[in-house]
Structure formats: C-alpha cells, structure tokens
C-alpha cells in the first residue's frame, strides 16, 4: 500500500495517551503509519510506538512543546509537511490536538474533516464516515490531491498490537521560533477527586425526581465514576435541595454535550432537554412510559432507576474487568 498516514502522538506524564495509540492502530491498517512525537518525553516514547503500528517515528524532544501550547507543534508539523507528502494526518479529537488541527489546516491549506467514526482509502480515494445527529450518516472526502486532516471521534478505534515491529527513528533537527512560543503554560492543576468537569465530560449520568430521595443520588455518582464521567441533576432536584446548583443541567443551568448521556429518573422537561439534547447518545431510564425523555432517547428503558442503576454499575464493572 502506498498510503502514508501520519499520527501526531500526544504525551501525558511521559507516556502516549490512549487515543493516540487507537488512531495509530487505525493508521497502520490504512497503510504505512508514521508517528510524530514532540516534547520532553518524546525520545523515550518513540521506540515503543512500533508495537502500536508505527513504521517510522519523527522525534523532537524539546521542552518548548510542553511549555507553550499549540504553536510549536503547528510549526514543526508544518515543516515536516513541506519535506514529505503523507496521504493524511489522522488525529483523535482531544483538547490539544483539535487546536493544533485548526491552525495546521489553515497554515498549509489543508482540507479537514471532523468527528469521523471511520475512514477508508481505496482506488476511488478517501471516504470518511461522519455521523450526523441520530439518524443520518454522511460520507465525505477531501477535494484536493494533497495531504488533509481527519479528526476522529474519541474511542472510534481500539488499540492494536504489532508485536515485534520496530519503528525507524528520525530525529527532527529544528529550532522552534520565538513567534511560536507565545501561548505560555503558567501552571497545570490536576483536580483529582471531582472527575471531569460536568460541562466537558464525555459521559454524563444525571438524576431527577424519579430517584425518589436524595440518598439515592449516590447510584448516579457511582455509575458516573465507573464510566469516567460526571454526575448531573435536573433543576427539580436542585431546587429540592438534594444537590448544589453546580450539578444543574438545563436552560438555567449547565449545557452539556457529552458523547453519552444517561438520564435516570428524569421525565424530560423542555428546560432540561435544552441542556442535554446535543448529547450524541442518550439513554433514558424512567418508570413512566409516557415521559417526554423517551422521545429523545436512543435507548429508553421503562423501569425503576433505583434498581437498574446499581445493577448497571455492577454489569459494566464485570464487562470492563
């Protein structure tokens, strides 16, 4: 296969993040996968990427990539584009890579497709699958005969093992310009105990009056924690004093747009729907089969959230183990 797919690998705590490895595995299935690793931990990580599909790794172990956001990576990857002609740059949608992708595409006049869940490169070119709302799937392509960027939806692919594969390492000799060192990181603060912020969580589990009493809200919190998400609430139970305002989802509270939203014991008042309707997948659990939330759910379960939530937590733990 003649296609060369580049993946910019993100590091966290000196290790490649999972989403980068997922996309690297997909790149290896599409053709020749080449990784780019930037930052202080890059030299140590580079040799390990062969096992995840990379045939070649471009490395630049410079701390400027950690101290300054976006622009150093855009500068270096743009330089690499000027020297090589890969078919595609494939990136998972993350906070940092999304910022980098936007500037890269503009600087280099590249086409860019976001929110992809799959892609193929055949004789008739690139075909990218992009879900649109709940009912539609778009197949898109890039119009130019030059490298483009595809951003994929998180968790669209799984990590693949290429045991025994050794990647060729190429050190990038470049100096990052002063103009690229302008978005400075002053400090990074980990907020450990709270899980992801509600408005930015990829998974939100929220509860409403159907939980019966405030003491049952811990079922919502447990499931959210198992799914790596954040717990949320309806205005009704916030007004009732079960939870502080910071949990409130809806028109007068927070707007969330996670990949997965689980509504437990929520009837689905318009004002609540306003705050979560943009979620990609919605699962609703409610005793009342006429609850409006069901009209907005991809999966509606008529039943008691108080009994289903703990069972679901147990079931997910079992499947994840």
């Amino acid at each position: 296969m003649a296609n060369t797919i580049w993946v910019l690998v993100e590091l966290e705590g000196g290790a490649p993040v999972r989403s980068s490895l997922e996309v690297l595995g997909k790149a290896a299935r599409l053709g020749r996968a080449e990784a780019i690793v930037l930052g202080s931990g890059a030299a140590e990580v580079a040799p390990t990427l062969g096992e995840y599909g990379a045939e070649k790794v471009y490395v630049h172990a410079d701390a400027a990539y950690d101290q300054y956001l976006t622009l150093p990576a855009v500068e270096t990857v743009s330089k690499l584009f000027a020297e090589h002609q890969p078919t595609l740059l494939l990136l998972p949608t993350t906070y940092d890579l999304r910022d980098i992708a936007a500037r890269l595409s503009m600087r280099n006049g590249m086409g860019l497709i976001t929110d992809a869940t799959d892609l193929t490169i055949g004789d008739d070119g690139l075909k990218v699958t992009v879900p649109w709302g709940g009912e539609t799937v778009v197949t898109a392509t890039l119009t130019q005969q030059r490298p483009g960027i595809v951003l994929t939806r998180p968790k669209a692919f799984s990590v693949e093992q290429y045991a025994g594969r050794t990647a060729e390492i190429e050190n990038i000799n470049t100096t990052i310009s002063a103009e690229s060192q302008t978005i400075r990181v002053i400090e990074t603060v980990e907020v450990k105990s709270e899980g992801p912020a509600l408005e930015d969580a990829a998974v939100v589990v929220s509860g409403g009056r159907g939980l019966g009493k405030a003491e049952n809200f811990h079922y919502v919190e447990e499931l959210a924690e198992i799914l790596g998400g954040a717990p949320g609430a309806t205005r009704a139970i916030v007004d009732a004093g079960w939870l502080p305002y910071s949990y409130q989802i809806g028109q007068t509270g927070k707007t969330v747009k996670p990949t997965l939203y689980i509504a437990a014991g929520i009837s689905g008042a318009i004002q609540h729907l306003a705050g979560m309707k943009g979620s990609k997948y919605i699962i609703a659990i409610n005793k009342d089969e006429h609850a409006p939330i069901f009209a907005n759910a991809d999966l509606g379960v008529i039943g008691d959230a108080v009994s289903i939530l703990p069972q679901l937590s147990t079931e997910i733990k079992r499947r994840k183990a």
Partner: protein
C-alpha cells in the same frame, strides 16, 4: 479595548432535529425555527462581563450568514453587545470552516480587534475549527476552553479547562479566546435591553467590502465534499425496552455496540 464576539444563527436545538438536504447536502434552514446558538449566549455573556470589568471597551457582535441572521444579532445587542456587523453574501453559501474563518478574520483585521471571543464549537456543525482558523489567519494566539478570563495590561490570562483539571495560560493581545460552554452564567435580555437594541448600530457587509473574491469562498472554496448522505444503522428511532430484570445487561450491550465503554 475593542472586543468582538463571533456568533451564529442555528436551527433551534430545542425544537428541531437538524437535517441535511440530500440534494444541496447542506443543513436544512427553511421551515426551521432559527435562533442564536445557545452556546453563543454563554460566550456573549462572558464577553459582556469582561468588557465591563476592563472598562472603556466596546463589544461588537459579528457573524457570517444570510440576512435573516439579523435576528440572532439583535439578541446579542439586547443582551448587551454595543454594535453588530453581519457578513452576508450569496456567494458564501456552502462555505466550509476554513472559509468561515478566513472571512471572519478579514473583518476582524479590518476592525482592529484586540480580543475575539468564540464559542468552542457551534451547536449545528460542531467542527470547532473556526476559532483556531481565525487566530491562524490573523497570526495571533488562541486561548481555548476558558472558564475564567483576566486581562492584565496587554496580556490575557485564562484558566483553560482540560480533562484532568485546568491550566493557567497566558498570551499577548490581540488573541482569540474560546469559552467552555456553561462556565459563565448567562445574561438574559431585559425589556429595556430589547428596546435599546433597536437603536444600536447594525451594519451588513459584503465580500467585496472585505476585499474577498467569490471564487475563494462558498462551495468553490470548500476543501471537503459530501459524497453521500445515508441513514444511520440501528439508530433511526430510539429503541424502547421494558425492564424485565435484564435492563442492565441490555444497556451494557448498547454501550458496547456504540463503543461507549
């Protein structure tokens, strides 16, 4: 300081399911109730608060869209923006995110913006590529996912939401700042604000006013092409099940099927 907020009129996410026209392959806007993007309400609110905190500053709402987008602009004015500029031109229909960024950047450059606010992404297209694109065309930094913003002299310092917590980051001005939706309490228009909005300056500019060619924008300038629009498998209608004791397993299977575990 000259502050700008980029906004968009979108199909009302509370009353409509956004659809794509199989012929034009564009978002259906006819017969659909259009509103100011709810995400933009939070962004405008953040911008108004910063304008008032910094003092001696002006906040201008800008948008690219059909003339009917005027209504969304009026809402921004009613909330508290000082004036509004709509870029409208028939040639812009079908523009991609890159073109949208170039067109908005042309106006912002001309206006001499110091701070440019954008939502992280729109509610209808959600590519999230326009803010970074504007910053790149203008050659200025972008500070993204802000949940707190401070202007200190000629510097912007923000708290940026990241998956594990937050980062404090800074850059020189001018800069593009994107807002983490829901981080700023919304300002609702008052009756006085709505009445006053009618007297605030509102202008509409064309591509020619910005020195841009029709051949560079719209479908002609797009680098992406929709090949086909199909029906999503197994998600056409929501599936409703009754808990017969197996609901937990059924939910877990759903999560696995859509790679949500």
């Amino acid at each position: 300081m000259k502050m700008f907020v980029c906004i968009k009129q979108v199909p009302d996410p509370n009353t409509t399911v956004s659809k794509l026209d199989p012929n034009t392959k564009r978002l259906v806007r006819n017969g659909v109730s259009l509103v100011l993007d709810p995400g933009d309400e939070s962004t405008i609110s953040a911008a108004i608060k910063l304008r008032d905190k910094v003092g001696n500053s002006e906040l201008v709402a800008v948008s690219m869209g059909p003339a009917s987008a005027q209504e969304a602009m009026r809402r921004a004015l009613a909330m508290g923006a000082d004036r509004a500029i709509l870029i409208s031109d028939p040639a812009l229909a079908g523009s991609d995110a890159g073109t949208t960024a170039r067109v908005l950047a042309a106006l912002l450059k001309k206006e001499g913006a110091d701070v440019i606010f954008c939502s992280t992404e729109s509610t209808d297209g959600y590519t999230g590529m326009v803010p970074g694109g504007i910053a790149e065309v203008m050659g200025i930094p972008q500070l993204t996912f802000a949940r707190e913003i401070n202007i200190e002299g000629q510097k912007a310092v923000i708290k940026r939401v990241i998956p594990k917590g937050y980062q404090t980051i800074e850059s020189s001005l001018p800069a593009v700042i994107t807002i983490a939706s829901g981080s700023f309490e919304a300002i609702y228009p008052t009756m006085k604000g709505i009445m006053g909005a009618k007297r605030k300056p509102y202008s509409q500019v064309s591509l020619a006013d910005l020195g841009l060619e029709a051949s560079q924008v719209g479908e002609a300038g797009a680098r992406e092409q929709v090949l086909s629009i199909g029906t999503a498998e197994a998600r056409a209608a929501g599936q409703i099940i009754k808990d017969d004791g197996n609901a937990a397993q059924q939910i877990a299977e759903f999560l696995q099927r859509y790679q949500l575990l």
